[in-house]
Amino acid sequence: MTDATLQWAAQVLGATKVYGTGEAEVRALDGVTVGFERGRFTAIMGPSGSGKSTLMQCTAGLDRLTAGQVLIGDVDITRLSEKQLTLLRRQKIGFVFQQFNLLPTLSAAENIAFPLALAGRKPERDWMEHVVATVGLADRLRHKPSELSGGQQQRVAVARALVERPEIVVADEPTGNLDSRASAEILTFMADAVSQFGQTVVMVTHDPVSAAYADRILFLADGRIVDELLQPTRESILARMGRLGL
């Protein structure tokens, strides 16, 4: 491992993503270069259509770039086959979705262990207990998602994202469907994961309150990174957004 890969959990180099052709051509990403440092909580903000979701999806290996590179650790995922990429996602990337996306037929515990089960592995007991305790689900493990509140479901999802100790956790508007109290809980867990386990987290959001939990904020507009804010507070975010006209 080089120093760079020690420092960066993920790097995006000259990323360009073009949808459609001719008149209907849309440049969702226009030569974006950015790195996500290990053990940091990065938020990506920007108006609708700014390319923030595309950046996240391409970084997480859910979609492919038109041009440019994405490195997860020291692996260039743009060179991987479909199968290799799938296996990489399974081991190195954790996901938290706006819609929770739990499997309705599995219990909370089974949902948490699901990425490991896909590979035919069992979770390490200590780590599993640690993660479960961190998100405060110990007494809900046997419940089905339909028996849990939205906040509890999203906590299961966060635990699921952490259980593999991935290189990077990608969260897409994780609090979009939650009330403010549940939102605060979830964001605290994610911030804790960063500070306690040294987990790397990248979160897409349009909510300044949520973004304030991050260590660093990237602002996107028209497929480019237009600004960056370190150690943000709600006020500094709002001020910066106002300045950028977002």
Binding site: S53, A60, D63, F95, Q99, L103, T105, A117, R160
Partner: protein
């Protein structure tokens, strides 16, 4: 609302592909059956009309006697021709005949030899080239046969005829209107005298005499006066009608059978349609709620869905009719490739057929849509604001109670039927309850099935686990899909299991009865005398017993089957065993021997065949009884029963047995119709081969092993089981479409979930495997229930028949049926599985 229904329909066309496909297959099947049978009927009746167009009066054997191969003695023709009022008369005679290739094998397996009719107004055939046959050694072949065998006027051919091999020169080519020949397999025409010799060896006779007359009515009266009672005089009109009945009669049987299977297939379609619309309603939940919220009444919501159903049903039915026409043409082509020519070509597209198909297809669709439509009507406006459709599991207590009660009651009834005394009575209600129970309780069964499988699935990894969960996730839908398969497989199993049992039992019974080693039979013209002589001297043959049989009128106007033979020869070749009386008296010509069937008279039962108004006389069954016959000269003859025989296959074939001399006195001259052969020990196989070679050149004569009836019955059973299963296969195909439909719709519903699974690291292969497993599980559920229910009902049905028929289940065949069911799942999953793997992972981010 009409506009709404139509635009939604247009926007979601792909969702209805499966429904449409199911209806198209079902309606297509119905249409093909109707069109084919219509075409066949038209062609057959048209042929009869043309063939006998110039015939005013027909002299034929009494209709009931014709069943026994009775015919009109050759010399009657001159009598008829001499009758006042007759302008032309000709003998009609046809029998199997063939053109032989160099090796002596037939190259025209289904051709007929015919007597050429010199009187032009009675002859349906025309000479296309050359001239009519007038002497021995001359033959006229039809256009088709000539073309197929490369024959021209002047060619020499070797012929196989009932009288044995013969050679002839082709002197002409015949045609039958626009078609090649009257007989579907080709016609070989001989001069009248030649035909009597070749086609009616033994005793020269016509099948019928065709008459043209100036005044048919008076001519008929005149003929009635001159001709004996055993001949019937029919007007040309009646004759044509009865020929049409005889030729096209099987169509009246075929038509309802084909229709029955088509309706069954459409019933299965109902399940597929029901499922599609149930899913569509769930998917459109919010949209429907929105309509309600902006002021749509429940009735409007309901009607819009029914209307959608009607449009889908109607359009699919229309396509189905076209598909049916194509299917019918394809079927004709396929059969044609196997040298089976169905009568009539093309399809008969009648308005009736089209209307029926459109109505049936549309009605089935609309009926299947009603329940989902009513459910849609109940959508509450507030649900427009809710997040997602609730997954209603269909496990209400009422359903559990009703379904469970039906299933329990069904099994109790069926067991009561099997072991109780009131055999047969509970079979109907029991099966009906079983079906209702399966439909109502299906979701519970599906859920139970899923939870049972969860245990082994847990061991084989998370993918299997998810597949099982998915199958049990919407038990109602899984059950409906499986039930479509259940119907087909249930009937296939039932038919196979009970058919097999009946076959084995019947064949065993029959084989226990037979005793001679071979039976050689001729067609209606009998076995040629020289052949009988040759058989007697064939190496390995110990003895032969030639028998002549005829139907003879009784004084009460019925027909009795009478056989004449050398009694001693017959005793040596068959298993004649005397139960009472003395065969010596019979051999001396003093009376008859009959089969003893426990003292009861054997009832002939019913009519003597289509177009016959006479019934078959009961054969007397006791010593001392007698039977009153009408001899050829019209005088009554009493025949006493002097011996009774043990019931054996051979004796049952004989009817009333007389010594040959007495037989001729009572029934007139008749050719030998069958020869019983007894071989020397260990010679059966060799003799069989020698006899086969011997009869090869005698068209129409066949060698059958002594247990041939057993073999024929067994073949008939096999054919029926096979045919019924093939027809039931149509409903299995539709069920397959149903599985494709359900899986595709589920995938569509679970796009987001599938996207998430892929994002979390499920490989494409794992996704495909999961989807495939779900489909196979549905197939498996349908198979277990279908085969199980079929087995249960077969067991009960066979058990409730008298005679303690053992249920020898052919497990290999059963396993094959089960395999078909599971394979249906595998095949059904191919396309949906591929589709599932292509789902974009970003779907996981979609908010709806």
């Amino acid at each position: 609302m009409l506009r709404y229904a139509l635009t939604t329909l247009r926007a979601n066309v792909t969702r209805f592909v499966a429904t449409a496909l199911a209806v198209i297959i079902g309606v297509g099947f119905l249409a093909a059956g109707l069109m084919l049978t219509d075409a066949m009927r038209v062609a057959l009746s048209g042929n009869v009309q043309r063939q006998y167009a110039g015939v005013d009066v027909v002299v034929e054997p009494a209709a009931s006697l014709a069943e026994f191969g009775a015919s009109v003695p050759a010399d009657v023709l001159s009598e008829v021709a001499a009758t006042p009022g007759v302008t032309a008369a000709a003998g009609e005679l046809s029998a199997t005949a063939a053109i032989l290739d160099r090796t002596g094998a037939s190259s025209t397996p289904r051709a007929k030899g015919r007597a050429w009719i010199p009187e032009a107004q009675l002859n349906p055939l025309t000479i296309e080239a050359g001239r009519a046959p007038t002497a021995d050694g001359e033959v006229v072949v039809d256009r088709g046969t000539a073309a197929d065998n490369d024959l021209h006027v002047g060619s020499t051919v070797r012929l196989g005829t009932p009288a044995g091999p013969s050679s002839a020169t082709v002197v002409g080519i015949s045609g039958f209107g626009r078609t090649d020949s009257v007989d579907p397999g080709g016609t070989l025409s001989f001069a009248p005298a030649t035909s009597l010799r070749l086609l009616s060896p033994g005793s020269p006779a016509w099948n019928a005499i065709l008459v043209a007359a100036k005044d048919p009515a008076t001519t008929m009266t005149a003929l009635r006066h001159t001709l004996p009672q055993s001949l019937e005089i029919t007007s040309g009109h009646d004759f044509r009608a009865s020929q049409q009945d005889a030729d096209a009669g099987f169509i009246d049987l075929l038509r309802p059978v084909l229709q029955g299977f088509a309706y069954l297939a459409l019933f299965v379609c109902g399940f597929v349609i029901f499922n599609t619309f149930s899913v569509v309603v769930t998917q459109r939940f919010r949209e429907l709620a929105l309509i309600r919220a902006v002021g749509g009444t429940p009735g409007q919501v309901r009607r819009s869905l029914v209307l959608e159903g009607a449009v889908v049903g109607f359009v699919s039915s229309a396509v189905g009719v076209a598909f049916g026409a194509a299917l019918a043409v394809a079927l004709q082509a396929v059969l044609g490739a196997f040298d089976i020519k169905l009568p009539g070509s093309g399809v008969a597209l009648s308005t009736g057929t089209v209307v029926l198909c459109l109505v049936v297809g549309t009605v089935v669709t609309v009926l299947s849509v009603i329940v989902p439509a009513v459910r849609a009507g109940r959508t509450k406006p507030v649900e427009a604001m809710r997040d997602a459709a609730v997954d209603r599991s269909g496990a209400s207590i009422a359903r559990a109670v009703i379904g469970g009660a039906c299933l329990v009651a069904a099994i109790v009834l069926l067991l009561a039927d099997r072991f109780g005394t009131a055999s047969g009575w509970f079979l109907g209600p029991g099966s009906l309850l079983l079906f209702v129970g399966l439909v109502v309780g299906g979701p519970l069964v599906a859920r139970l099935f899923a939870s049972l499988l969860r245990i082994p699935a847990r061991r084989s990894g998370v993918t299997a686990r998810l597949a099982v969960d998915n199958a049990g996730r919407n038990p109602k839908r899984t059950a409906t899909t499986a039930n479509a398969l259940v119907i087909g497989l249930f009937l296939v199993t039932l038919v196979t299991v009970s058919g097999d049992a009946l076959k084995t039992w019947t064949v065993e019974r029959i084989n226990a009865l037979s005793s001679s080693d071979f039976i050689v039979t001729g067609d209606r013209s009998g076995v040629a005398p020289d052949l009988v002589a040759q058989m007697r001297t064939t190496k390995g043959v110990a003895d032969i017993g030639p028998v002549s049989q005829a139907g003879v009128l009784t004084t009460s106007g019925e027909v009795a089957l009478v056989s004449g033979a050398d009694i001693d020869e017959l005793r040596r070749t068959t298993g004649l065993e005397v139960r009472s009386g003395s065969l010596e008296d019979v051999a001396a010509g003093r009376g008859a021997a009959v089969t003893d069937l426990g003292g009861a008279s054997t009832s002939g039962g019913g009519g003597a065949g289509p177009g016959s108004d006479r019934s078959i006389a009961a054969t007397p069954g006791r010593l001392g009884e007698s039977i009153e016959l009408v001899s050829p000269d019209g005088s009554p003859v009493g025949v006493d029963v002097l011996a009774t025989l043990e019931p054996k296959l051979d004796t049952l074939l004989l009817g009333t047995l007389l010594d040959r001399e007495r037989f001729t006195a009572v029934a007139g001259e008749h050719p030998v119709t069958s020869v019983f052969v007894r071989v020397e020990p260990g010679q059966a196989e060799a003799v069989g081969r020698r006899l086969d070679r011997l009869v090869a050149t005698h068209a129409g004569t066949q060698v059958q092993p002594g247990n041939f009836i057993g073999e024929i019955v067994s073949q008939i059973f096999d054919f029926l089981i096979g045919a019924v299963n093939a027809l039931l296969g149509m409903s299995v195909v539709i069920a397959l479409v149903g599985i494709v439909n359900t899986i595709t719709l589920s995938i569509f519903e679970r796009r987001r979930e599938l996207g998430m699974l892929r994002a979390l690291g499920m490989t494409r292969r794992q996704v495909a495997w999961m989807v495939r497993t779900e489909a196979v599980l549905i197939g498996l559920l349908g198979t277990i229930i279908g085969v199980g229910a079929g087995l249960l009902l077969g067991w009960v049905m066979i058990g409730s028949l008298p005679g303690h028929i053992p249920l020898n289940v052919n497990w290999t065949r059963l396993a094959l049926i089960a395999l078909v069911g599971v394979l249906a799942g595998v095949i059904a999953s191919i396309a949906p599985a591929r589709r599932a793997t292509r789902i974009e992972m970003v779907e996981a981010m979609a908010t709806t």
